[in-house]
């Protein structure tokens, strides 16, 4: 049985580790690229959002490589994405691929549901092996996310632009290749030190921009024009609360115990929106309210045609917590030019705002 899953950021690394430990063949989809996009667009209903199209592209590419069992997140409480697995299964069958689609409804199936799926896929490996494989996967995921948080900070202040990105690319493959807890620990320690030692500008603290919006486009750089790296190039520190490791930690373990990280965010959004509107719209507003003191500005990422995020986009300018927001719609366009113009102007705006209004008005703007 050859298993695969669509890309979303670095998610493939922990899953590959998990399945390798259980001797199940896991196919890593080719990194999301132009071909993925073209395939996804060709076989998708036109009005659907970019997460559907890109994940479908990934699924077609792995089906071509011989994957037989495909995993796809699904379930209620999200948005249309809950139905994507079914629709994509249909598309793949119509294309003649004999695949089995397994829906991962993480929020419904909880931890044990997920373990049962893994048990089935691993041809009945022992519970001990499954738990230990799962733990190893989680360790990799946590390490990846810790590294990413570090890189977000270094990118903004490094003297030679691109250094942190190169180290980040290196550490991703090193974590991917690590085959034991021990190696993993060494890799993480080694790269933490190397990232700490990257030469930095001795200037004041950098501008801080929070990134909020729809889960998939936040986490899949291909879909958001690599917005985090671009902000880093402009000397901006990016903060994001959405990480896969956090999300799994809460939706699998803590939420069932009644510890809900999102309560705080939802409470903050209450004066402006009283209920969940699907997707991550409620969270986008809540994060703006919650972090308005800490962030200089907010970049809001939304897939084109995403109803929850469009609602959030229209509510955000009305909040009393008044930090500038730049909404970027993510769709099939792959030219960065338009986005860069907006990002550059946005950063100019934030810089001038921070410097304060005392300037010679006759001569300069922004």
């Amino acid at each position: 049985m050859r298993i695969s899953i669509p890309h979303m950021g670095n998610l493939y690394i922990p899953l590959k580790a998990l399945f390798q430990r259980l001797d199940v063949e896991f196919i890593v989809p080719p990194l999301t690229n132009q071909r993925t996009l073209s395939l996804g667009v060709r076989y998708s209903p036109e009005g659907l959002c970019i997460p559907f199209k890109l994940t479908l592209g990934n699924l077609i590419e792995v089906a071509e490589l011989g994957a037989e069992t495909l995993l796809m997140p699904s379930g209620y409480g999200t948005c249309r994405l809950g139905y994507y697995a079914r629709t994509q299964e249909q598309v793949l069958h119509d294309l003649g691929y004999d695949i089995e689609m397994i829906q991962l409804g993480v929020s419904e199936q909880k931890f044990f549901g997920l373990l049962k799926i893994i048990k089935r896929l691993s041809n009945g490996a022992s519970w001990f092996d499954i738990i230990s494989a799962f733990r190893f996967g989680m360790r990799k995921l946590n390490a990846l996310d810790r590294m990413e948080k570090l890189v977000q900070k270094v990118r903004a202040v490094e003297t030679e632009k691109g250094t942190a990105n190169r180290l980040y690319d290196e550490v991703i493959s090193a974590i991917d290749e690590a085959d034991s807890d021990k190696v993993l620990e060494m890799v993480e320690e080694d790269y933490s030190i190397r990232l700490d030692q990257v030469p930095r500008d001795s200037q004041d603290r950098p501008l801080i921009v929070g990134i909020v919006g729809e889960f998939y486009v936040l986490l899949e750089p291909f879909s958001n024009f690599d917005v985090e790296r671009e902000l880093g190039k402009l000397g901006v520190e990016v903060r994001r609360t959405t990480f896969i490791s956090e999300w799994i930690k809460f939706s699998l373990f803590l939420n069932p115990l009644g510890i809900k990280e999102k309560d705080r965010i939802h409470k903050a959004a209450l004066p402006y929106l009283k209920r969940d509107i699907g997707g991550d719209g409620w969270e986008s507003i809540g994060e703006k309210v919650l972090h308005n003191k800490e962030y200089d500005g907010l970049v809001h990422l939304a897939p084109f045609t995403c109803l929850p995020e469009i609602m959030a986009q229209n509510i955000m300018p009305t909040t009393r917590e008044n930090i500038p927001v730049l909404t970027i719609l993510c769709d099939e366009q792959t030219s960065k030019t338009g986005m860069l113009t907006r990002l550059e102007a946005f950063v100019d705006l934030l810089e001038r705002k921070r410097r304060g209004s005392k300037c010679d008005r006759k001569m300069v703007a922004i």
């Binding site: 690229n33 632009k161 690319d169 291909f222 790296r229 209004s357 006759k362 300069v364 703007a365 922004i366």
Partner: protein, 323 residues
């Protein structure tokens, strides 16, 4: 004689503006881009050189507009700046009190909100070009008139017809249907102007507070009927600067003048650029499975710049033989 040169390469037109040391406009060029940004920068440089005194010393050169990086490589710009900042700078230098800048160009429309001389917010059209210059050009062409005639005839309208302005496809079919049932062309044209203004206010300016003084910049401000429609819709005076179509180029020239303090030396390649031959090409990078589209520009077998990759591998690679 000192001069600062601003070059604004937009999707539809290319603008050059030369300012003297007191920031007065000395010379300017305004011409269509026709999808050939490099050639138009070269030709623009040629033309502006003729207008400038022979002893001119270019002390700073800067580029803006959607082809700002490409143009920046050709002239070896001292500063490359986005068009929003450039437009705001120019507006503030002419009208220090300005609070709102409306800017409509060939493919883009923007709104810039300024308070106390600082940009506090901006908006830009996203996936749709409804209400920009290109669409007006297209409609003028379809009705077999020049864009100047379009403007004049729309001004003659006595009672405008309502046209759907939400999307260019709807607008066009609405226009055709109204023509077919016998509405006067003047009224349809002005109806279209109103629709575009409505679309602008409901889309780009959504949720933004439009306060006077309001400046209207960009090529579309040539169109008197659009100006009139804006005044009616906003119920306020709308100032159209004399050189509204050049404001991006002027703004970036002002910014580079400010940048070149303390006798910093300009990197400007010189006017001879207009004779050089440039070659652009693109290829798919096969170094990893990202398969990025890399664009490159070269002259005399020397690669000047490459971009488009998700990593900076090609940008960092030293100039070498063209691939």
């Amino acid at each position: 004689m000192e001069a600062y040169l601003g070059i604004d390469v937009g999707s539809v037109t290319t603008k050059l503006a030369a300012l003297d040391e007191n920031d007065e406009l000395m010379a300017h060029v305004y011409q269509p881009t026709r999808g050939q940004p490099i050639e138009m920068v070269q030709r623009g440089l040629e033309q502006i050189k003729e207008q400038l005194p022979a002893d001119v010393d270019i002390c700073g050169v800067a580029t803006t507009g959607s082809a700002r990086y490409l143009a920046g490589v050709i002239v070896n710009a001292d500063l490359v700046k986005n068009e929003i900042t450039s437009h705001a700078t120019a507006a503030l230098s002419y009208f220090p009190e300005v609070q709102t800048v409306l800017e409509i160009g060939g493919q883009d429309s923007k709104i810039i909100i300024i308070r106390d001389g600082i940009v506090t917010d901006f908006g830009m059209n996203t996936v749709c070009a409804a209400g920009t210059g290109s669409f007006l050009d297209h409609q003028a062409l379809r009705l077999n008139m020049t864009i100047e005639e379009f403007s004049q005839r729309a001004m003659d309208s006595q009672s405008a017809v309502r046209i759907a302005g939400r999307c260019t496809v709807f607008a066009e079919s609405d226009m055709v249907h109204k023509q077919q049932v016998g509405h006067k062309i003047e009224d349809i044209l002005y109806g279209l102007c109103q629709a575009l203004v409505r679309n602008y206010i409901n889309n780009i300016a959504l949720g933004k507070e439009i306060k006077s003084p309001i400046a209207f910049q960009g090529g579309v401000a040539f169109n008197q009927a659009i100006v009139k429609a804006f005044k009616e819709e906003l119920g306020a005076e709308v100032i159209v600067p004399r050189h509204h179509e050049l404001m991006g180029a002027i703004g970036v020239a002002l910014l580079v003048h400010e940048e070149m303090v303390n006798n910093k030396k300009s990197k400007f390649t010189g006017f001879q650029v207009s004779e050089a031959k440039y070659r652009t090409s693109s290829f798919e990078c096969k170094s990893c499975t990202n398969l990025c589209e890399i664009a490159q520009i070269s002259t005399n077998g020397q690669t000047l710049a490459r971009w488009g990759g998700r990593c900076d591998m090609w940008e960092r690679m030293p100039a070498e033989e063209t691939r």
